[in-house]
């Protein structure tokens, strides 16, 4: 449940939407649909750019304040990536449905109103990006995201990538970072107590996962072997997923 499994994705799972993606990683499973550019409601209409609407639906119940908060974070990040100026007065709608989230082994939780936390943010970002790519919405760049928790254990400090719910509970701080494919920092949200030094360490760890330059050379591979193998290369994952989708679409070439 809490094991760091390799991410999995399927594109175009919803036939009636313009683009869709199903993504599962670190215990989270999400489905996203993207529609757009479509006609915006009068109150959302902007004269010079497209309105990006993000809706996060929890696995059970209706969304509350936490979901609205995540939506606003995602909305501002995605609006940076999408070429919104290409589609004035229109709407690009991203709906993210959470299907499954990892269970906490220590606390007996009933599936009631899902209380979201930052650990789900990377999955939300990844699913939204995959769905946007699947819909062919013009974008400036792609993005990858990861969550890092700082856990103090036996007096030692430890970075946990893609923390489990238990680790989020015991962690002194949880951070979510997203990077664009140009290695720019897109999103940085933190929760808990931490020092500037810790944040710098978190930044380096996250950057290693999100921005690793494709095929790791021999020298870097040696260094990586010493570290825990949890670090999945998100950028490579995104690329291989899209490569198989494009190859399937253009089978006639």
């Amino acid at each position: 449940m809490t094991a760091t499994t390799a991410p999995k994705a399927a594109l175009g799972v919803l036939p009636r939407s313009d683009g869709s993606a199903k993504y599962s990683h670190a215990g989270y499973t999400l489905t996203a649909s993207v529609n757009g550019p479509i006609e915006a409601q009068r109150r959302d209409e902007h004269a010079y750019e497209a309105h990006v609407e993000v809706i996060v639906r929890p696995a059970a119940g209706v969304g509350g304040t936490r979901e609205r908060h995540l939506e606003s974070l995602l909305q501002s990040s995605l609006a940076q990536l999408i070429l919104v100026k290409n589609f004035p007065r229109s709407l690009i709608q991203v709906v993210l449905q959470i299907e499954d989230s990892p269970e906490n082994d220590y606390v007996n939780t009933k599936l009631v109103q899902a209380s979201l936390n930052f650990a789900i943010m990377p999955a939300l970002v990844q699913t939204a990006i995959l769905a946007l790519l699947s819909a062919g919405v013009p974008m400036r760049a792609t993005a990858t995201a990861t969550a890092v928790a700082v856990v103090h254990q036996d007096g030692a400090k430890k970075m946990v990538v893609d923390p489990s719910p238990r680790e989020v509970e015991t962690a002194s701080s949880v951070h979510v970072l997203a990077f664009t494919s140009h290695n720019g920092l897109l999103l940085a949200e933190s929760e808990g107590d931490f020092t500037v030094g810790e944040w710098d360490d978190v930044y380096e760890t996250a950057k290693e996962i999100c921005c690793r330059s494709t095929p790791a050379k021999e020298g870097t591979a040696m260094v990586l072997d010493d570290e825990e193998p949890s670090a999945t290369d998100m950028r490579q994952f995104l690329r291989s997923t899209m490569e198989s989708k494009v190859a399937a679409d253009l089978h006639w070439k």
């Binding site: 036939p15 939407s17 313009d18 683009g19 529609n35 757009g36 550019p37 479509i38 006609e39 990536l81 070429l83 290409n86 589609f87 004035p88 007065r89 229109s90 790519l133 819909a135 062919g136 919405v137 013009p138 974008m139 400036r140 760049a141 792609t142 664009t180 494919s181 140009h182 995104l238 690329r239 899209m242 490569e243 989708k245 494009v246 190859a247 399937a248 679409d249 253009l250 089978h251 006639w252 070439k253």
Partner: protein
């Protein structure tokens, strides 16, 4: 995948050696690419980069479902309603309607103009597409004043309404290719009309906006052709798969 046609993601840098350089012709950028002055050419969608050195052009080949109007595209549209001087038409669901002026038909004048009811399907050309304005359509060539096959399709009153089917934009593009069997790998229509389909009689109008109209004397044929097109699109069938599909559908329909 051949190195000549790499798969690109939005924002990736394109290898300068792949950009065609022609001494005289200006470089033409097709769909999916944008030029960031002064020197950058960046893809905006995920797809395969195709270059044509002879025409000094490059574009991204990809498939999607949402049509974005582009001038001189042939599209199949549905009339929503009429205003004083134009019809409002639907290009794709949930988008702002396009305008089709009453005078943009062959031989139309202020006195004589075609009367089209809401719901009527029209095969038209995109005359004007601008991101700040609703698209404008025409059913007549501005140069020659001829319709060239454009205009209302199907006549429900005469019992030959036919039916419009939704396909993906990439499939519509393949159907519209001049040599769709050789270049696009779609032979399903030829097969249906030919030996495999037992010589079915039907007519089609393919819109770049992902809608295909099929008309025929018999409703059976309309449904069969439409299903064959949709299954070819969704299943990603090759020529051999299409032949098998046509045989199966014709057998089931008997």
């Amino acid at each position: 995948m051949a190195t000549g046609h790499p798969i690109v993601l939005p924002g990736e840098t394109i290898d300068p050696s792949l950009i065609p350089s022609h001494p005289k012709n200006p470089l033409r950028l097709g769909p999916g690419l944008r030029h960031i002055p002064p020197t950058d050419i960046v893809p905006t969608v995920a797809g395969q980069l195709i270059t044509n050195p002879a025409k000094n052009s490059m574009w991204i080949e990809y498939n999607s479902n949402r049509y974005i109007p582009t001038p001189s595209d042939l599209i199949l549209t549905q009339i929503l309603r009429s205003t004083t001087d134009a019809y409002l038409c639907l290009l794709s669901p949930h988008t702002a309607p396009a305008t089709l002026p009453h005078l943009a038909f062959e031989g139309a004048t202020k006195k004589t103009r075609p009367v089209l009811q809401p719901g009527q399907l029209v095969y038209a050309r995109v005359a004007l597409a601008n991101k700040h304005m609703d698209a404008e359509l025409e059913c007549v060539s501005a140069a020659t004043g001829k319709a060239d096959g454009l205009g209302p399709v199907g006549n429900p009153a005469a019992g030959s309404g036919g039916c419009a089917f939704d396909v993906s934009l990439g499939f519509a593009r393949r159907l519209l290719m001049a040599r769709s069997r050789a270049e696009g790998g779609v032979g399903v229509l030829e097969m249906l009309a030919g030996e495999e389909g037992g010589g079915l009689a039907f007519e089609t109008a393919v819109g770049r906006n992902g809608r295909v109209w099929v008309g025929s004397e018999s409703a059976r044929t309309v449904v069969l052709v439409g299903r064959a097109l949709q299954e070819t699109d969704r299943g990603g069938l090759g020529l051999e798969g299409q032949r098998r599909l046509v045989r199966r559908l014709v057998r089931e329909m008997r």
